[in-house]
Symmetry: C2
Subunit: 332 residues, 2 copies
DNA sequence: TTGCGCTTCCAAAACGTTTTCGGGTATATT
DNA sequence: AATATACCCGAAAACGTTTTGGAAGCGCAA
């Protein structure tokens, strides 16, 4: 059936030890025998079994991509990060297997056990929320991990996220430069770490660029389209004089714009809008959405790179912030 | 370190054989010892090593998700399918590991070898094109596989795709029912299997519902936004009297609509438009796009199910067509 | 001759499971 | 009393690798 190292050894007239050494570039094997072994291996189309190798080496060159909530929205985000993770992990010679918290939860098993059973060398966590019970596990376990979009740092757990506070600052600064005097903020969900940071950036920027910070100008929209509509309505009811709004997500921003259309408010003339994320939609919606873009693909790459460094060089995990970028279109 | 089956055996005062049997529900182990073993295993938080098990069982309960071109567009499509695959595979107790043709190609290794080296039990292929050299491998290899969106059928290879010809028929029928008399078709790429099928459906439906089929009414737009713009311009140049257009993708349809806006053509009054795919964008664009939706998630599920049936019950692979669905919005 | 250091190779153990085959008891059958 | 029949259980082999601890050969110095 399968051609094993034993077959190669027999065909080359050496021991399995020598075959292993020859193929793995070990020192103590004669040059001519090495060549012969390599030749024979190619001849037989020999592929070492990753499984067997994993068993003896006690590492699988396989890392898990733990996704907390596969189904729910966030398509773009998760996908791009996933691709980034895959690409750079592949570069380093690692495979990636999908793990969803749902299946782990369903089997009533801690996610660490789930990963250990599969011999995963490490795990990249994304889409997890601050109030998820798995968070504790992530930071406490000795399984090397890096979390995306949640600032968790411990002995074996690093994180990478966009620089949300600066992203929010860019948004506000841009609104101000466009002449906005009274700027509102439609935030996402209070429990989300990114929301807190964006709020901080918003507040700092407002203090810096316009002066007083009026906390009645921040409302919450739950990251959804409808939430954006509702939240903007609420904001305008409280403060009819706002002339610019920063939304913590593009989806909410689009909802807000829909609300504006319904109410006869002109964007950006009556109300300037800037979103967050730069989802595909942003360029297609009319008017095209000005937004601050997250480097989704790069986040995946960075997370993968950090994990590999932890694994291979024993580096300590760290927290990395990736710079967002303001994309100016038509709404502000 | 790791708690193995031996530890459990020792703690329970039985042999490893018995532990294995007890935990795997084999028949010949006394009920009391079984309970004792289970108790001890839970006590020690024992998790069988999937790696060791894979080695001896010669199957990994792990299937590969081969993505031909991760980066390029198709975000929504690939992501939804991926989630569907993952969900149902998880249900059946299989893990899924990501495989991109790029990495295989880069290592100058056939994708089958790539999968075999990793001990994958089967593979689900998506995003592959008809002219990809891997196609031959897929149909000829004995590695169980199912392909998405490409009608490849062989002893070990099945496929699942949407019923593109009926999808196209729905589109045409709807345009006709809206009163269109002269209907154009902006197809994708000539080499894509789906394009051929949609063309067939279009032609059949035109013959059935309007009468003569004029092949000058079909142009190609390469599935891109710009391609859609160009193609529609070309179509209108050749036949200014078309009053309805079916686009083989939403992206092209949106491009076409942009072209209409630029030319002062009213949609749907002057020109009715229906797209294909139902990407997220479709509902947000103005006017909202009428389109025929592909059951992306279900395609993933179906593919996974077929593969599992092949693996577990030795079923022969088959070709399944999933019904698309017309989503009527504002453009037609 | 002996001893020593190189180089090149190998036998065997180990990784953590499953499974085959057979051994031992107790109970039922002749 | 002998034998068959269940029923439990265990020793050992197997899966395909890597690695440890020598061993054999050889040249060279003492």
């Amino acid at each position: 059936m399968r051609v094993t190292i034993r077959d190669v050894a027999r065909a080359a007239g050496v021991s399995v030890t020598t075959v292993s050494r020859a193929l793995n570039g070990a020192a103590d094997v004669g040059e001519e025998t090495r060549q012969r072994v390599i030749e024979v291996a190619k001849q037989l189309n020999y592929r070492p079994s990753h499984v067997a190798r994993s068993l003896v080496l006690r590492k699988s060159q396989n890392i898990g991509l733990l996704v907390s909530d596969f189904r729910k929205g966030g398509h773009h985000f998760l996908y791009d990060v996933l691709v980034g993770v895959h690409d750079t992990l592949a570069e380093y010679g690692y495979d990636v297997t999908l793990v969803s918290t749902d299946t782990a939860r369903q089997q009533l098993v801690s996610y660490v056990d789930f990963c250990r059973a599969r011999g995963l060398d490490g795990v990249i966590v994304m889409g997890i929320r601050l109030d998820d019970p798995y968070v504790e596990e992530v930071v406490e376990s000795t399984l090397p991990s890096v979390v995306i979009d949640l600032p968790l740092l411990s002995r074996h757990c690093g994180y990478v996220m966009t620089d949300n506070v600066n992203g929010a600052r860019y948004a506000v600064r841009h609104l101000v430069s466009r002449g906005c005097k009274r700027i509102g903020f439609v935030n996402g969900a209070a429990h989300a770490a990114v929301s807190r940071e964006r709020l901080r950036g918003f507040e700092e920027a407002v203090r810096q660029y316009v002066g007083a910070f009026d906390e009645r100008l921040v409302v919450y929209g739950d990251f959804t389209l409808e939430g954006g509509q509702r939240a903007l309505a609420e904001l305008l009811a409280k403060s009819p004089d706002v002339d610019g709004v920063f939304f913590a997500s593009d989806l909410m921003a689009i909802g807000g714009i829909q609300h504006c259309k319904a109410m006869g408010i002109r964007v950006p003339d009556d109300l300037a809008v800037v979103g967050f994320d730069d989802i595909d939609l942003a360029r297609f919606v009319t008017p095209a959405l000005t937004t601050v873009a997250q480097p989704r693909y790069e986040m995946g790459c960075e997370a993968a790179k950090m994990l590999v460094h932890m694994l291979q060089k024993g580096e300590m995990p760290s927290g990395t912030l990736l710079p967002p970028q303001l994309v100016v279109r038509e709404t502000a």
